[in-house]
């Protein structure tokens, strides 16, 4: 059952991800991306990582995607604005070759990659649950967890600074 579910979700993920790249209309791209995030969250649930799944939906599908849609509609990008004809053929060929090389390397690597075998007898299936995650965050990874707050503080100060109205600025 879960095996079939896995393949179904994977198919859906790849399908939606390809949709992001190939659809001409940016709004469809964003909608496909939302589908991709939901199916990825499905994968997390299959791995018994409910917390990550919920966060993935709330943060990515919720906040970031709404922002994307908002920006696209705000900038009126939803009609087809094809920029590709400005790029020279040489650029396109170079891009395809280097991207293809990366793909070949990745395939070669993944073919030979051996991941450590999972010890099924001692495996803790609860490892992805929020309780375990919280315990890890507040013990072993306490320092990075706390220092991320400096990152957010600095990003917040920056956002306020960039967004703040200046006194001599015209008000549109």
């Amino acid at each position: 059952m879960t095996g079939n579910l896995f393949y179904f979700l994977t198919f859906l993920t790849l399908f939606a991800a390809l949709g992001v790249v190939f659809s001409k209309n940016p709004v469809y791209s964003v909608l496909c991306l939302i589908l991709t995030f939901f199916t990825l969250s499905g994968h997390y649930i299959l791995l018994n990582a409910q917390f990550v799944a919920a966060v993935n939906i709330i943060v990515y599908a919720g906040a970031i995607m709404v922002l994307f849609l908002f920006v696209i509609m705000f900038l009126n990008l939803n009609q087809e604005t094809e920029e590709t004809q400005h790029k020279s053929t040489l650029m396109k060929v170079a891009g395809v070759i280097s991207g293809g090389l990366l793909l070949v390397i990745m395939i070669a690597v993944l073919k030979d990659a051996e991941l450590g075998a999972v010890d099924t007898a001692n495996f803790n299936s609860q490892i992805g649950l929020v309780e375990n995650l919280g315990q890890l965050l507040f013990t072993k990874y306490l320092l990075p967890f706390e220092l991320v707050s400096v990152l957010f503080l600095s990003a917040m100060v920056g956002a306020v600074m960039l967004g703040k109205k200046e006194t001599q600025q015209r008000h549109f």
Partner: protein, 460 residues
Amino acid sequence: MNSIILLTSFGILNLFVGFRKSNKLILPLVFLFLLIVLAVNFYDWGNTTTYFERMLTIDNYAVAFTGVVVLTTILLIPFAKRYVDEKNESLAEFFSILLFSLVGAIMMVAYENLIMLFVGIEILSISMYVLAGSDKKNLRSNEAGLKYFLMGSFATGILLFGIVLIYGATGAFQITEISAAATAGSGDALTSPLLAMGLLFTLIGISFKVSAAPFHFWTPDVYEGTPTLFTAFMSTVVKTAGFAGFYKLMSVSFAGAYDIWFPTLVAMTVITLGIGNIGAAAQNSFKRMMAYSSISHAGYLMIALLAFNDRSENAIFFYSLAYSVATIAAFGILKLVSDQRDDISYNAFNGLGRTNPLLAAVMTIAMCSLAGIPLTGGFFGKLFIFSAALEQNLLWLIIVAILMSMVGIYYYFRVVIAMYMREPSGERVVVGSSASFALIFMAILTIVMGVLPGLMSNLL
């Protein structure tokens, strides 16, 4: 660790000081804060302490590089005086972000865990994205901020992917554990292709941050558009912290894999040296030239990384100190001159030797140091790097680097020629007393490093 706590609290405190109507207090306060941090930082000299389940190690290496980045920031403060005169409303925010970004820089030099490295790089990068776009009414600055942000986030993604692949291959974020897992097994390091892939992606991510070719393409545009004060910070603190972190990662985690990453890095070094120096020679804007010059200095620092012996640490330390001091002096003078003459090309410096002998003299010393002329810090920086490389039998690489630094003399001396051999293009540039004091200090420091290099060359 103490410096991280202090810098964070001082940053928050500084935000509150920003509520006052007058912003005259901010520069002296930030100066005081950073002096305290510098003192507290050197208090840890000689002790090695690890914090929080081996997340962070404060040893001499970390203390020395923290000293460099904090000192660089201190030297930058006097050149912000124009923001005070103009009653810029965001001055407190600028400096709070600088203080926070120093936290990131310290994490990058003292990390013991790849997660710490990543968070450090992110703190530093996000602060830089904001500061690059901080001149809101200037189209160039907007462009710089957006460009840096888009490309930087892409590089961050690649770096994170690399870290995850390394974790997948070794099951560890701890840099010592990675090395143990990588060298275990058949004795041949990097037996796992996943690890090689992870190493490659991590390399790409860090190379982007230190602007090593072929991941340098953002540098000229971003450096040119960013307000000069923050360009100076970007080209010194980010580079110093980046290389300190880079070297630590390579020397602790991937020492056993030297043969595997050597060809990649050596190719990158040669390209970086070439693009940096030849690109700089083609520029007409002084600021753009400095951007390319920072690429070329990344190339020299990569030679120290490739040398990979017990001299490398000292060479990187000495070189980044000499480079930072000279770069801050050059950008500081550029800021003073361009604020008044509204020009960032070489022409802005025309006749500066006659109107402002002090600025011209300090600029000449800074340019000599960057070009690697004897009796300046930059000469010994290059000398230490080359002698480290010689021990590793990299003679051909040294010859390439020396050829490239000859190209460097050409473009560094263009500004000297403009200063002394052209007619003045404007009035005397007004320089505040604190800025002249800082410039004199930097000139003396550069010469002291060039005359008595032994004072600092064997610290680590």
